[in-house]
C-alpha cells in the first residue's frame, strides 16, 4: 500500500487550492476518484467516462492498453481528467504521495484550461457526464430491442465511428441555418457593385441553383446523411447523432492537446515550487517532473513542447531581449497577462503559429522527416532556410490537421442520388486501403453510390464505391 491516505490528499489539496486561487486560475468544481490499475485501464478505454455505450472497439482498446501495460511497453498515466463540470479526475492508488500531489496540481491546471479556453467552452461541461450516460442508455436500449439487436447496432456504429471526425473543425464558427445559407448564396450571386456601371456593359445575373443540396460544401458527413437519407430508421439516425455528438466533445481536446498539457505542466511546476515541500518530496517531484516534460527522441512530446512555449511567452513579456524588442516592439502586457490571454483565445495551430519561433525550433532541434524507400529520413532541419517549412509541416499535423478534410459537394451528382465527396488535397495523399473501406461505410449509410475526388501521386482521381464494389478512375 502507498505511503498516504485520503487525509494526506485533503491536506495537500487545501494548500494547492490556496495557490490555485492566488495564481488566479479559475476552475470548475473538482472531484477525485482513487482507483486501481484495472479501473484505470477501464477508464482509459472509455475516454475516462464513467458511463459510455458499449462497442467492441473499446474492448479492443482495453486489450491493447492492457497488453502494453503488462509487457511494460507503456506505463499508465499518473492521472486522467475529463472535461466536465465538476471536473472528474482519477488518481492511481499505487502512486506515491509526491506523485499524487503533483497530479492534483496538474489536474487543476487542466481544469482551468477546460473552463477558460474558447474551443472547450462549446462543450457545455456541466452536461458532459449526463450526455454520455444518456447515449449509453439509448444505445443499450437499441441493443436490447429484439427488432434491432447488437449486430445491427454495431453495423451502424462501425460506420459512424469511421466518419465521426469528418465534421466541422471549428465549433466556434456558427453553423448557418438553411435560411441563412440561401440568403448567402443569393448575395454571392449578385454582381459586384460597380461605380461605372452606367458606362459598362450590363452584367449578366445568373441566379444560383437554390435546389442544390448542399448549397455550400458540407463537412458534417454523419449529420448530412442523417438528414438527407430518408430510408434510415429513427434508431439509425439516432446512432449517427450520438456518434457525432461524442466527436464534438472530443474535437476541442484534440485541438488543444499541446497547449493543455503544457499549461497543466506549467502550473503543477509553479504550484509545487511555491508549496515549500519537504526536501524528500521536492526531490522526488523534480525527478517526476523531468520525466514528464522530457523531449521524446525523434517524436514530439506535447508536455515538453507546450511547457517550452508557455515559458517562452512569459519570458518574452517579462524579460525581452533587445533583439526581440526591436522585432516585436516593447511588450504591452506582463507575462502573466499574456499567458492567461493566450490560454483563452488560442488552440494548438494558432498557438504554435504565433509563438513557435525560429530560435525555439532550433533550440529544440526540430526536423522534418519523410519516407524515402522504406526508410524514414530527415529531410529538413530548422536552419535559416527551411525552418518555416518545418514549422508549416508541424502545423499541418497538429490537432485536427491529421484528419483529411473531406466535404460533401453534391448529394445528387448526375441527378442520380450519387453522393459526391471532395478531398481538399494539401499535398498529402489518402491511405487508399483505408479510404476504400471508409467509402464502403459511407455507401452503407447513404444507400447509393458514393464517389470521392482526391489526388493520388499528384494525379487527380475519382474513387467510387457502389453496389458493384470499389473502383478508381483518373480525372482530367
Amino acid at each position: 500500500m502507498a505511503d498516504w491516505d485520503v487525509k494526506d490528499l485533503e491536506y495537500w489539496d487545501e494548500k494547492i487550492r490556496e495557490k490555485v486561487e492566488e495564481f488566479g486560475l479559475s476552475c470548475y468544481p473538482q472531484e477525485f476518484e482513487i482507483c486501481d490499475h484495472f479501473q484505470m485501464l477501464g477508464y482509459m478505454a472509455y475516454s475516462g467516462m464513467p458511463s459510455h455505450y458499449p462497442h467492441w472497439s473499446y474492448g479492443k482498446s482495453y486489450e491493447k492498453l492492457k497488453t502494453m501495460y503488462d509487457y511494460g511497453v507503456s506505463g499508465l498515466p499518473y492521472e486522467m481528467v475529463i472535461n466536465s463540470s465538476p471536473a472528474l479526475a482519477y488518481l492511481m492508488r499505487d502512486n506515491s504521495l509526491c506523485l499524487q500531489v503533483l497530479t492534483v496540481a496538474h489536474v487543476y491546471g487542466h481544469n482551468d484550461f477546460f473552463k477558460n479556453n474558447f474551443t472547450l467552452k462549446s462543450t457545455r461541461a456541466e452536461l458532459t457526464l449526463n450526455l454520455f450516460k444518456i447515449h449509453a442508455d439509448r444505445v443499450r436500449g437499441y441493443i436490447e430491442d429484439p427488432s434491432i439487436g447488437i449486430e445491427k447496432v454495431e453495423a451502424i456504429l462501425d460506420a459512424a465511428h469511421a466518419l465521426s471526425l469528418q465534421c466541422r473543425r471549428n465549433l466556434a464558427i456558427k453553423k448557418l441555418a438553411p435560411e441563412e445559407e440561401r440568403k448567402r448564396a443569393l448575395e454571392a450571386a449578385q454582381p459586384p457593385s460597380d461605380p461605372f456601371q452606367p458606362v459598362h456593359k450590363r452584367q449578366v445575373y445568373t441566379p444560383p441553383d437554390l435546389n442544390k443540396v448542399p448549397l455550400s460544401p458540407e463537412e458534417d458527413i454523419l449529420l448530412f446523411i442523417r438528414d438527407y437519407n430518408p430510408y434510415l430508421s429513427e434508431w439509425e439516425k439516432d446512432l449517427l447523432t450520438i456518434a457525432q455528438e461524442e466527436s464534438q466533445y472530443f474535437i476541442p481536446n484534440i485541438e488543444t492537446k499541446i497547449m493543455n498539457e503544457g499549461w497543466a505542466s506549467y502550473w503543477h511546476r509553479e504550484i509545487l515550487n511555491s508549496l515549500n515541500l519537504p526536501q524528500d518530496l521536492h526531490l522526488e517531484f523534480l525527478v517526476h517532473h523531468n520525466q514528464v516534460v522530457r523531449p521524446f527522441p525523434r517524436g514530439i512530446n506535447p508536455y515538453y513542447l507546450g511547457l517550452k512555449l508557455w515559458d517562452d511567452i512569459k519570458r518574452r513579456h517579462d524579460d525581452p531581449t533587445p533583439e526581440e524588442i526591436e522585432k516585436y516592439g516593447k511588450p504591452t502586457k506582463t507575462g502573466m497577462q499574456a499567458i492567461f490571454e493566450v490560454r483563452e483565445v488560442d488552440r494548438d495551430v494558432s498557438f504554435l503559429r504565433r509563438f513557435l519561433t525560429e530560435e525555439l525550433m532550433r533550440e529544440m532541434d526540430m526536423f522534418q522527416y519523410e519516407p524515402r524507400g522504406d526508410e524514414l529520413v530527415i529531410s529538413k532541419v530548422s536552419d535559416k532556410d527551411s525552418w518555416r517549412e518545418v514549422k508549416e509541416t508541424l502545423l499541418k499535423n497538429v490537432g485536427m490537421g491529421s484528419i483529411p478534410v473531406i466535404k460533401i459537394e453534391d448529394a445528387d451528382y448526375n441527378h442520380n442520388r450519387v453522393l459526391y465527396l471532395k478531398h481538399y488535397h494539401d499535398s498529402r495523399d489518402l491511405q487508399l486501403e483505408y479510404a476504400e473501406r471508409t467509402l464502403a461505410y459511407i455507401h452503407q449509410l447513404w444507400g447509393h453510390e458514393v464517389v470521392l475526388e482526391t489526388a493520388v501521386n499528384g494525379k487527380r482521381a475519382l474513387l467510387s464505391y457502389s453496389d458493384k464494389g470499389f473502383s478508381t478512375k483518373p480525372l482530367k
Partner: protein
C-alpha cells in the same frame, strides 16, 4: 470554488466494475471471425505444422481494423532531435515506425495492424468449427462395450453384500415386524427381540451399460521416398496434420495409424511420421499392402469404419503401377473412404509421372483424388475432401 471531493478507493467497486468485459468478448468474437476468414493463409504458414497443442501462435489480424480517412505513408512529419540532426539521417523503417504512432504527437493515426496470440488448439477449433467428418456408417456390430459403466436398475432379493441397500432392508424389517405383531395380537411383546431375516435383505441391482461407440480408424499413408523433397513432404504433412487434428478434435475414440513407405511400408509413430525424413525408391503398393495388413489384423471392416488417405508425388516405379492399382481397389473395398492426394509443386506436374491418370481407372464410389500444387491448395482440398464425402452420404441417405 466549492470544496473538492476525494472519493476513496473501494476494492469491492473494483471487483464489480469490469465494465469492458462485454466489449472485450465482442472484440474477441470479431478476432475469431477474422482468423476464420484468413484461415487459408494461416494453414499455409509453416510454423503451425506438427507443433504441440499448447504452442502459442502469432496470428496477424486483419478484420478488426477501425477504418477512417487517414493520410498515407508519403506524408512528412515533424520530430525533435538531440541537437545534431542533419538532413539525410535515417530515423528508421517506415513500417512499424508509423504503426506505433502513439508517442508522436501530431502523427498520423497509423495503420492499424496487430497480431494476437492464440494457442494451436484454439486455432484448430476455429478451423474445424464448420466442418464435420462424414457420418460414420452404421456397422452391424458397431456397438462394442467400449465403456464398462454400470448403472442401477431396480432391486433384488438376492445379491452380494456390497450392494445391500440398508435403508430399504430396515424398512422391510419394520414392515415384517408390524405384520407379525398384528397376527400375534395379545401375545406380542413389544420388548421382544426381532432380528433381521434373510427375507428382509434388499440388494441394488446393477446392469452393465453398453454405449454405442463409433469405431473409426484413420490410416495415414505417406510416401517418404527420395523424390519427395522437402517442399512436397511439407505439403503432405500439412494435409495429414489437418486430417489428424481434425479427427482428434471431433471424435474421442478414433484410432490413427501412420504408415510411411518408400519401397517398403512401415508403421511409424506420430512423431516419426511428421518429423522424420527417409529416402529410396517408390513402391506405392508397399504402403497399401501394409495398410491392408494392418486392417486385416486389427481393424476388421465389419467392426470398424476405416478412413485411409495417401499422399505421394505420384512418381511411382512403372512396374509397381498395376500392383498399386490392385491394392488401391482392395483398400476401397474395406474402407469407408479412401483418398489419394498428389503433391505436385507448381510446374512439376508437366514432367513427372502421375498416379492420377492411373487411378482414373479405379471406379469406386468411395475413392477420391485431390491435387495439391501449392500451400494455398491445402485448405480448399481438405475441405473438398470432407465435403464431397458428405454430399455422397446425403445422396445415399436420400435414396434410401
Amino acid at each position: 470554488m466549492p470544496e473538492t471531493i476525494f472519493r476513496p478507493y473501494s476494492p469491492s467497486e473494483s471487483l464489480r466494475s469490469d465494465r469492458s468485459a462485454g466489449d472485450r468478448q465482442r472484440h474477441r468474437q470479431k478476432v475469431r471471425e477474422s482468423i476464420r476468414d484468413n484461415i487459408t493463409d494461416l494453414i499455409a504458414e509453416e510454423s503451425i505444422i506438427g507443433k504441440d497443442k499448447d504452442k502459442i501462435i502469432k496470428v496477424p489480424i486483419r478484420g478488426v481494423k477501425e477504418y477512417r480517412f487517414i493520410y498515407g505513408e508519403n506524408t512528412p512529419g515533424v520530430g525533435q532531435g538531440d541537437g545534431n540532426s542533419q538532413p539525410g539521417q535515417v530515423l528508421g523503417r517506415t513500417q512499424g515506425e508509423r504503426g506505433q504512432g502513439e508517442d508522436k504527437a501530431g502523427d498520423q493515426p497509423g495503420v492499424d495492424y496487430y497480431e494476437t496470440d492464440v494457442t494451436l488448439e484454439e486455432l484448430i477449433e476455429i478451423m474445424f468449427e464448420d466442418l464435420e467428418l462424414p457420418d460414420m456408417e452404421r456397422k452391424i456390430l458397431r456397438e462394442i462395450m467400449s465403456e464398462r459403466l454400470s448403472k442401477r436398475k431396480g432391486y433384488r432379493r438376492a445379491g452380494i453384500r456390497i450392494r445391500l441397500d440398508k435403508k430399504r432392508t430396515a424398512i422391510s424389517r419394520i414392515r415384517r415386524r408390524l405384520a407379525v405383531a398384528r397376527r400375534q395380537g395379545e401375545d406380542w411383546d413389544d420388548e421382544q427381540r426381532f432380528p433381521f431375516h434373510q427375507d428382509d435383505m434388499i440388494y441394488r441391482h446393477m446392469v452393465t451399460d453398453t454405449r454405442p461407440e463409433s469405431n473409426a480408424v484413420v490410416i495415414c499413408v505417406m510416401d517418404t521416398s527420395g523424390s519427395m523433397d522437402t517442399m512436397k513432404k511439407y505439403l503432405a504433412r500439412s494435409f495429414f496434420f489437418l486430417l489428424y487434428q481434425f479427427v482428434c478434435t471431433k471424435y474421442r475414440n478414433v484410432e490413427i495409424v501412420f504408415i510411411a513407405h518408400h519401397t517398403e511400408g512401415h508403421e511409424v509413430t506420430e512423431e516419426e511420421f511428421f518429423h522424420k525424413g527417409e529416402s529410396g525408391g517408390t513402391f506405392i503398393s508397399s504402403g497399401y499392402t501394409k495398410a491392408l495388413d494392418i486392417i486385416k489384423e486389427r481393424y476388421h471392416p465389419t467392426l470398424w469404419n476405416v478412413y485411409a488417405f495417401h499422399c505421394s508425388d505420384g512418381d511411382n516405379f512403372e512396374s509397381d503401377n498395376p500392383a498399386a492399382l490392385k491394392a488401391a481397389k482392395e483398400l476401397c473395398e474395406v474402407c469407408n473412404l479412401f483418398g489419394y492426394g498428389e503433391i505436385k509443386p507448381l510446374g512439376s506436374r508437366y514432367y513427372e509421372s502421375s498416379m492420377l491418370n492411373i487411378f482414373r481407372r479405379l471406379e469406386a464410389e468411395n475413392f477420391q483424388t485431390v491435387l495439391i500444387e501449392r500451400k494455398e491448395d491445402i485448405w480448399p482440398s481438405f475441405k473438398a475432401f470432407l465435403a464431397k464425402e458428405r454430399v455422397r452420404e446425403e445422396t445415399a441417405a436420400a435414396e434410401a
